[in-house]
Symmetry: C2
Subunit: 124 residues, 2 copies
């Protein structure tokens, strides 16, 4: 499904969360798709099941997945309330990022171009 980077200093469970989030955001994993079981994922990454479980539990708390006893973990469909909060966070991040682009004298057109490229790719 993906690989870990042991040179990355962040905790493994953080990396795992991020990778799964990315798969969901990119649309590779769609609502109600089942994730690999805790034990499967642990074996395929050669790490401890507890670490996977921590990732899954966090993702559940953040609203990205839901879990069903004895069945597995599944991708959560979008909920409007969750979205609103997340949007606001993202806008703040975007502002920070933009401020640093200003600092580095990157022309605004370049930023806009990058964004449009991402949006086009998604539609096409």
């Amino acid at each position: 499904m993906f690989q870990l980077d042991y040179r990355d200093r962040r905790p493994l469970y953080e990396q795992i969360k991020e990778k799964i989030k990315a798969l969901i955001i990119r649309g590779v994993l769609k609502p109600d798709d089942r994730l690999p079981s805790v034990r499967e994922m642990a074996q395929s990454l050669t790490i401890n099941p507890n670490t996977i479980q921590k990732s899954y539990k966090d993702l559940e708390t953040e609203g990205f997945i839901y879990s069903v006893r004895a069945k597995g973990n599944f991708v959560q469909a979008l909920s409007p309330a969750m979205n609103q909060a997340r949007r606001e966070e993202l806008v703040l991040e975007l502002e920070k990022l933009a401020a640093e682009f200003v600092y580095l004298s990157v022309p605004v057109e370049q930023l806009v171009a990058v964004i449009h490229a991402v949006y086009k790719k998604k539609e096409g």
Copy 2:
């Protein structure tokens, strides 16, 4: 100069780095401005000088400040080489961010508006 947030789970030295970076990026601190000494800053934040030194050393490694024996730490002027690397990092971050905006069905116009606002604020 600024305050720490002890509810923030990130290391103190990370928070300090970020705050100082923000001051530099916003232009509050300008090239060759002197930062508070390690001991001063430590006292004003009521933390250990070693923690401040770690922040400063990291910022030096990242090219944001330079230090002079027995004189202090100062804001580094921009270097083109450093900028290029940083720009590329930022573009990657921007793409990630944009992808999540797409996922949340935020119209591209809204992103562009946020960015223009930041740029206008900087010029004005």
